[in-house]
Subunit: 302 residues, 2 copies
C-alpha cells in the first residue's frame, strides 16, 4: 500500500513540474500567437484559456511516460504543451452556452463570459490548430511528427474526444445503461489521457508493446478520473472545485453515480485504477511514480 | 487576352474535377468518421458540412499546383481533401449565431440550423482535427507530413484565418481604412488560398523559390476573390449566390466596396489578379490553367 509520503511526493512533483511547464507554455504561446495589433483580444482569450490555473495532468502524464523510456523532462515539455492546448480547447468549447453552459472553470469565469462567445469559439479553434503546429515544430523528427499528429488527431476527432462530447450532449436527459455511460467516458475523457501517455512514449521511441501498455494505463486512469469527477460534482463545493457543481444532475448528464450509485461508482473507479497500475507491471520500479499517480485519483478532492 | 473558350475550358475542368474530388472526399470521411451508433448525428453533421455543394476552389488549387511539379491529380486528392475540411470547418463556425449568424450557405440551411449549435460547433472542431489526420495519413512521407502540417496549422491559426475572422468580428461597425480591410482579408481569406497552393507544391517536392511563387499566386488570387465576394454580396441575389446577401452592409462588415467604393474595388481586384498571374511567370505555359483561373475570379457571378 502507498504511504502518505508517497502520495505527497508525487503530488509535490506534479505541482513543481506544473510551474516549470506553465513558464514554457507561456513562451510557446507568445512565439506562436504574437499579438497582431495590441490589444489583440483573440490572443488574450487564447492565453486566458490555456494559462488558467489547472492541474496539468495530461501534459505531466506525457512527460512521465516519455521519461520511462529515458527522455529528459526538458525535452518533452513542448509536445506536452500541445496536449494541454487540446485540453484547453475542449474546456473552452464544452463550457459554451450552446454546450454545457458553464460560467466557472478553474476558479475563474469561463472564456466566453470574459471575451464573449465569438472569441471563445475562435480561441478554442486556434488552440486546437496550435496543438498541431507545436507538434510539427517540436517533435524530435519528421517520423515522430507524423506519428504524434496522427495519434493526437484521432484522439481528438469524431471517433475520440469530440465524438464523446457529442454523445454526452445527445444522451442528456434519457436514462442510459452502464455500457453507454462507459462508452461516453471512454471517448470523452479517457481517450485523450491514453493518447497523452502514448504520445509521450512515441516521442521517446518506445516499442509497440510499450506504447500499448502506457496507453492502457492512461485510458484506465482516465475512466477512474471521470468517475471521481462525477462524484466530486455531487459532493464538493463550487468554491473548492473551481467550477460549477451539481450541474451534471440538473442537466440530466450520464454519469456513473446517476447510473449505478455512489458506492458502486467508487468500486468501479478503484477497479480502473488497479487496471491502470497493472498495465505498468512490465516497467517495474521505473513506473512507481505513475502508479502512485493513478492511486491518487481515488483520493482527489478537486 | 483570354478567349471565352479558355474561360469555359478551365471552368469545365474545375467542375469535372470537383465531381471526382467529392467522391474521394466522401470516402475519406466514411473511413475517418464511421458512425458510432447510427444515427450518429455528429457524423451526419460533419458530412452535411463537408459534402455540401461548393466550388472546391481551394482543393483544386492544391491539385493544380502539385501538377505544376509533375504530380498526378489522383495522388493529390487526399491532401486536397484536408484543405477542404479546413474550409468547411471555417464556414460552419463563421455561420454560427455568435459569429456571422448566417442561415443559408451553398444554397442550403447552415449546419447549426439543421443540427443545432452544439453539434455544429463540434462538427467544425472535428473537421479541423480531421484535416490534420488526413495529412498524417496521406502525405507521401513523414518529411512532407511535417512540412504540410506546419504550413496548414499556421495558415489556420491565430496568425492566419482564425485571427482574420477575429479581426473581422472586432472591426464590425467601426469605419476602417483600406489597410485594415486588406489586413483582415489577407488573414481571413488569402492566407488559406496561398497555403493551399503552397501545400500542393510541397507535396510535389517543389523547391523553395517555386513554393514562394505559388503561395504568392494563391494569396493575390485570395485577395481578389474576397473583394469580388464582397461585391457579389452587394449585387447578387441570395437565390443565385446560395447564401444570405446584403449582410456585410447591415452587419457593418469591413469590405472594400464600403471602404473605397465599387469601381475602385473592381480596379484593386484586377490588380491582385494581375499580380497572381505575374507570380506564375517562371512556369510559363505549364501554368496557363492557373492563370486563367485567376482571371476568371473577376468574372465570377457566385
Amino acid at each position: 500500500m502507498p504511504t502518505a509520503t508517497d502520495s505527497q511526493a508525487i503530488l509535490t512533483q506534479l505541482q513543481q513540474w506544473a510551474l516549470a511547464f506553465d513558464v514554457r507554455l507561456a513562451e510557446l504561446l507568445a512565439q506562436a500567437c504574437p499579438a497582431a495589433t495590441p490589444p489583440d483580444r483573440l490572443v488574450e482569450a487564447i492565453r486566458y484559456a490555456a494559462l488558467s490555473p489547472g492541474k496539468r495532468l495530461r501534459p505531466f502524464l506525457a512527460c512521465k511516460c516519455a521519461s520511462l523510456f529515458g527522455m529528459t523532462e526538458d525535452d518533452t515539455l513542448d509536445i506536452a504543451a500541445a496536449i494541454e492546448c487540446v485540453h484547453a480547447f475542449s474546456l473552452v468549447h464544452d463550457d459554451l452556452p450552446a454546450m454545457d453552459d458553464d460560467d466557472l472553470r478553474r476558479g475563474r469565469p469561463t472564456t466566453h463570459v470574459v471575451y464573449g462567445e465569438a472569441l471563445a469559439i475562435l480561441a478554442g479553434d486556434a488552440l486546437l490548430s496550435l496543438a498541431f503546429e507545436l507538434v510539427a515544430l517540436h517533435a524530435p523528427d519528421a517520423q515522430r511528427t507524423s506519428a504524434i499528429t496522427l495519434e493526437l488527431a484521432r484522439a481528438v476527432g469524431a471517433g475520440g474526444m469530440i465524438g464523446g462530447q457529442a454523445d454526452d450532449i445527445q444522451a442528456e436527459g434519457s436514462p442510459a445503461g452502464r455500457e453507454v455511460v462507459e462508452r461516453i467516458h471512454r471517448r470523452k475523457t479517457a481517450r485523450l489521457l491514453g493518447a497523452a501517455c502514448k504520445i509521450g512514449a512515441i516521442q521517446a521511441n518506445a516499442n509497440d508493446e510499450a506504447l500499448l501498455a502506457v496507453e492502457r494505463y492512461g485510458t484506465e486512469l482516465g475512466l477512474a478520473f471521470q468517475i471521481t469527477d462525477d462524484l466530486l460534482d455531487l459532493t464538493a463545493s463550487a468554491e473548492h472545485l473551481g467550477k460549477d457543481v451539481g450541474k451534471d444532475q440538473s442537466a440530466g448528464k450520464q454519469t456513473f453515480p446517476a447510473c449505478v450509485g455512489v458506492d458502486e461508482s467508487r468500486r468501479i473507479a478503484a477497479n480502473h485504477v488497479q487496471r491502470a497500475v497493472d498495465a505498468l507491471a512490465p516497467f517495474g520500479e521505473a513506473a512507481a511514480d505513475l502508479k502512485e499517480l493513478a492511486r491518487l485519483v481515488l483520493e482527489r478532492t478537486r
